[in-house]
């Protein structure tokens, strides 16, 4: 008997022959490249990957991944993916979605998938604008933003996607940025290693309708000054010279403190992504809205002790069969009171 070891998968194995139809310069290209780069490293056979999407620019994603793929309808990707995952828990199911798809029309499915802890990885491409419909504001657009549908400024207050996911008690919540390739890949790999629901907000630039939306974080020097990389077990430090940190106040709130003058890293909060309760992660997710605070990226929360939804459902089936034996259809049809007519 001979066994032929299959050659290891490469990035090329995940590329399709379909012409990619995103605008040149779109942040989506970088995300596609990162996903195609990490999929071969996950030790999952290619046929077990399923990429599901809704509607929007980001939702073209499945067509460019040489895996099983389902481009569904607007907002419904988490529900389609849940059906796939419940029916076949062994599949590796990823959802590609956008700020409109996941948080406006599909907001309901997003939060319910997260609260159930279905083992699906969600990549939310957040460009803070509606791209495919050519430039209306989205649920993550800033208050007062002038867009095609809000010539006098948006009256809506935005969602913070990370806060929303943590509020739904998602067991894995992270943030990454399209142009920070290494950090993006690390975050994707951390999500892949998580068994339960994993939610990643990816800050993505739409160079046509909302160019520079994340420039405050991505342009030269901004990253080091305004972005704080979260690392489990490490203190919350940021700044070009790593000279600032986040400290817990006596009232439970947090504050930014300069390091030095007697304040050392040992005074700072040590990041604990594995905490079972979501309140600390929620506090972190809100700091970027406060003056002087950085925008955290990386893994906010990765608590993997909760059973996956699809396992709970399928375990119930296994347990009943173990207890009662496999169902006998004739007996089921004849259940209850019966009578014979001769």
């Amino acid at each position: 008997m001979t066994t032929t070891a299959l050659p290891p998968l490469t990035k090329k194995d995940f590329q399709t022959d379909q012409e990619v139809r995103w605008c040149p310069g779109c942040g989506d290209y970088a995300i596609l490249a990162a996903v195609q780069a990490i999929f071969p490293e996950l030790g999952v056979p290619r046929e077990n990957f399923v990429v599901v999407s809704g509607i929007g620019c980001s939702s073209r994603f499945p067509y460019y991944m040489n895996t099983y793929g389902f481009h569904s309808i607007h907002g419904r990707a988490p529900a389609v993916a849940s059906g796939i995952k419940i029916a076949h828990p062994e599949l590796e199911v990823w959802v590609a979605t956008g700020d409109g798809d996941a948080l406006a029309i599909g907001g309901n499915h997003t939060i319910h998938m997260l609260r159930r802890n279905v083992g699906i990885k969600v990549l939310l491409f957040n460009n803070r604008i509606y791209g495919l419909t050519k430039g209306q504001y989205s649920p993550t657009s800033e208050f007062h933003k002038v867009t095609k549908s809000t010539p006098f400024g948006s009256p809506d207050r935005p969602f913070n996607p990370v806060s929303l996911a943590i509020g739904a008690e998602a067991t894995f919540v992270a943030r990454a940025v399209d142009v920070f390739q290494a950090q993006l890949k690390d975050t994707l790999k951390a999500a892949a290693a998580h068994k339960g629901s994993a939610f990643i907000e990816i800050l993505q630039n739409c160079n046509i309708f909302n160019d520079g939306a994340w420039l405050g974080l991505t342009e030269k020097d901004a990253r080091s000054e305004h972005v704080m990389q979260l690392e489990h077990g490490k203190p919350l430090v940021f700044g070009k010279n790593r000279d600032k940190g986040i400290r817990r106040k006596s009232d439970g709130d947090i504050e930014v403190v300069p390091l030095g003058n007697g304040i050392t890293e040992s005074d700072l909060i040590v990041h604990d992504a594995h905490h079972p309760r979501p309140s600390y992660a929620f506090l972190l997710s809100h700091m970027e809205h406060r003056p002087g605070f950085p925008t955290p990226i990386g893994v906010f929360r990765a608590w993997d002790d909760l059973p996956r939804y699809e396992d709970v459902i399928n375990d119930q089936v296994r347990e009943v069969i173990a207890k009662k034996g496999p169902g006998d259809l004739n007996r089921l049809l004849q259940a209850g009171d019966t009578w014979e007519v001769k």
């Binding site: 793929g69 529900a79 599949l91 049809l333 009578w339 007519v341």
Partner: protein
């Protein structure tokens, strides 16, 4: 042994009759549905043919004693074949003035009214908006009225058990049931067994309910109140093993059977909605058959999760009623476009909007046929009787899997909750339809079709070498790649339509019952089957030349339907809507059919149909 008073057998007369209609009516908290089901089960076990009509309010507990809170359960049982719960009633059990007020209009002259006289105090009458007491004002003179102190008598039978008054009063429906068993000479055994099982963990309540039941029975014996009792011999049904089955139960069993016959796992994605929720309740119990049930966050997630499960290789179904169907519309289009098998059950209710949640209607036919954006044809099947729901579930699943299409099943509130004796098939007598997934990468293309059925291959995730993408965007023929070319689009629209048309090869030709040609053909679909069958039988007995055609396949329609329609001088289409099948038949076959339309949340009565037949054919024509 019973602890009840020992009474000598009464010297009452026993009369053998062939049929009776009984209706239990009370507050929605009075247990009328349970009482009715118990009586039904007992007479069915005895061998009578039955048809039932549970009629309950949408409110869980409307204020006690009021008209909106009245819940009723009607049963027609007979030594002959029955198809309807009956137009008018022989025996009415009324637990309070409101129940009497709502139902007495249907009681036949000289019919029996058993009335709980303990609930006819001034306050009770006021709650029912009655200005005088019907027990005293002679308004019931044309009936045989039996006022019974149900509350006092039940309490006195149970007082030694040490239950509080409320718990004792809750047993009074079984006192009334016991009286009915005496009246129709039926054994209390099946109900005693049911009580023992239901209150397994509460032996005191089991004892109380059994005592109340027996007390009601003994009361009739001891008081000789009725002076007459009835005997309805068993009906001559075709041989076999029978059980009593409701439409929703039948659908659930049908889907479990279909999954087994297809060799697939059954997946149900559903969101609770009246009157469909019982299918979810039923299927969630069948874990030993590997059934996966997913109570989704909304109607849209219910169907889209099912589409996901179908994509992953399950026999996927979703169950709902009209408002939920409206929400599922966009996803139906996705199932059409991705050509995945799926069965969607619409248990119709009165509408539009929230409408009459607990009442029956057949007004979603055009929604099922056309209710989607663009050209999105879907096969539609409709069940005729509660038991037929089983066979429709199997058939809809078979078609969905064979042709790789979504299929809509139309049932309605009347079939869902109504019950009839159902001959239990043996699993082996149901033909199998094993599914074969695509596995061979050689020449695989996601939209390369089977030449006979036009079905595309079902290649499920996890199959090496068949990785492919599907979605809602227009596809290129054969490859399934996104394609916006004008001619390709037209081609694909026509292929999707041709595929549904091709299903006609699985639709049996129809043969009308009654006269094969003649003066009038009645064409029907769905739950009106029973009352129309009964009406046609009665009118043919008067010498009229009538045919009855009942359609179970509404898309595609049977190939010979057009020919059959031409064999009669006139065509009548009775429907519980404004004329939807009528509209289809007139448009498709250019036939000058007329409608009989009732939109009252209730089924047809036999005499409404007979009147229409006589109006169309003229009374003098009868020979």
């Amino acid at each position: 042994m019973s602890t009840l008073m020992d009474v000598p057998a009464g010297k009452t007369k026993r009369e053998v009759i062939d049929q009776a209609v009984i209706r239990f009516a009370g507050d929605s908290g009075d247990g009328m549905q349970i009482t009715g089901s118990q009586f039904t089960n007992t007479v069915a076990l005895y061998g009578n043919d039955i048809a039932t009509f549970p009629d309950y309010p949408a409110e869980i507990r409307a204020p006690a004693g009021t008209v909106p809170g009245v819940s009723g359960f009607q049963l027609n049982f007979s030594s002959e074949e029955v198809h309807t719960p009956g137009d008018s009633i022989d025996v009415l059990i009324a637990m309070n003035p409101a129940a009497l007020k709502v139902n007495v209009g249907d009681l036949k002259a000289n019919g029996i009214a058993i009335i709980n006289s303990d609930s006819f105090k001034e306050g009770d009458l006021r709650k029912a908006h009655l200005t005088s007491n019907p027990l005293e004002d002679h308004s019931l003179d044309k009936f045989r009225v039996f006022p019974v102190e149900l509350q006092r008598l039940t309490r006195s039978a149970l007082q030694h058990l040490g239950l509080d008054a409320k718990a004792m009063d809750r047993c009074k429906n079984f006192f009334a049931l016991g009286m009915c068993y005496w009246l129709y000479n039926r054994s209390m055994e099946p109900t005693v067994r049911w009580i023992d099982d239901k209150f397994k963990k509460k032996p005191l309540l089991a004892e109380a309910n059994k005592l109340a039941l027996k007390a009601g029975y003994s009361y009739c014996e001891a008081t000789e109140a009725f002076q007459i009792s009835y005997e309805i011999p068993p009906a001559q049904l075709s041989p076999g093993l029978y059980r009593n089955l409701s439409g929703n139960q039948a659908l659930a069993l049908g889907f479990v059977t279909a999954a087994k016959k297809a060799g697939l796992t059954l997946f149900l994605g559903s969101y609770p909605i009246t009157p469909a929720s019982d299918i979810l309740h039923e299927l969630s119990q069948y874990k030993d058959f590997g059934v996966l049930t997913f109570q989704a966050e909304d109607e849209i997630a219910a169907i889209t999760s099912s589409i996901g499960a179908s994509y992953a290789g399950s026999l996927a179904i979703t169950t709902t009623s009209g408002p939920g169907m409206a929400l599922k519309t966009e996803a139906l289009g996705l199932a059409v476009m991705t050509e995945l098998p799926l069965v969607i059950c619409n248990i119709q209710r009165g509408g539009p909007s929230t409408g009459l949640p607990t009442k029956t209607e057949q007004a979603d036919l055009l929604q099922a046929l056309f209710g989607r954006n663009s050209e999105a044809p879907i096969p539609v099947l409709a069940a005729a009787t509660p038991g037929d729901c089983f066979w429709i579930a199997v058939e809809a699943s078979r078609i969905a899997l064979k042709y790789m299409v979504p299929v809509i099943i139309l049932s309605d509130g009347y079939l869902a909750n109504g019950a009839e004796p159902w001959r239990i098939p043996s699993v082996d007598e149901i033909p199998g339809f094993p599914v074969r997934f695509a596995t061979d990468p050689e020449g695989f293309l996601p939209y390369k079709r089977d030449p006979e059925t036009l079905a595309r291959p079902w290649a499920i995730p996890g199959t090496p070498g068949l990785e492919h993408r599907i979605g809602g965007l227009e596809k290129q023929d054969v490859t399934g790649n996104i394609n916006y070319e004008p001619l390709n689009h037209e081609k694909m629209v026509r292929i999707r339509a041709a595929k549904i048309d091709a299903i006609v090869q699985d639709v049996p030709n129809v043969l009308p019952s009654g006269d094969p040609e003649g003066d009038l053909l009645l064409v029907s679909w769905g739950s009106t089957y029973g009352s129309i069958t009964q009406a046609v039988k009665a009118e043919r007995a008067k010498g009229r030349k009538l045919g009855h055609l009942h359609l179970r396949y509404l898309n595609p329609l049977p190939a010979n339907l057009g020919d059959v329609l031409k064999r009669y001088r006139k065509v009548l289409v009775p429907e519980l809507n404004m004329g939807q099948l009528l509209w289809v038949l007139r448009a498709k076959y250019l036939v000058d059919a007329v409608g009989l339309n009732k939109i009252q949340g209730r089924p047809f009565k036999q005499n409404e149909l007979e009147q229409k037949i006589e109006e169309m054919l003229g009374r003098q024509e009868a020979r």
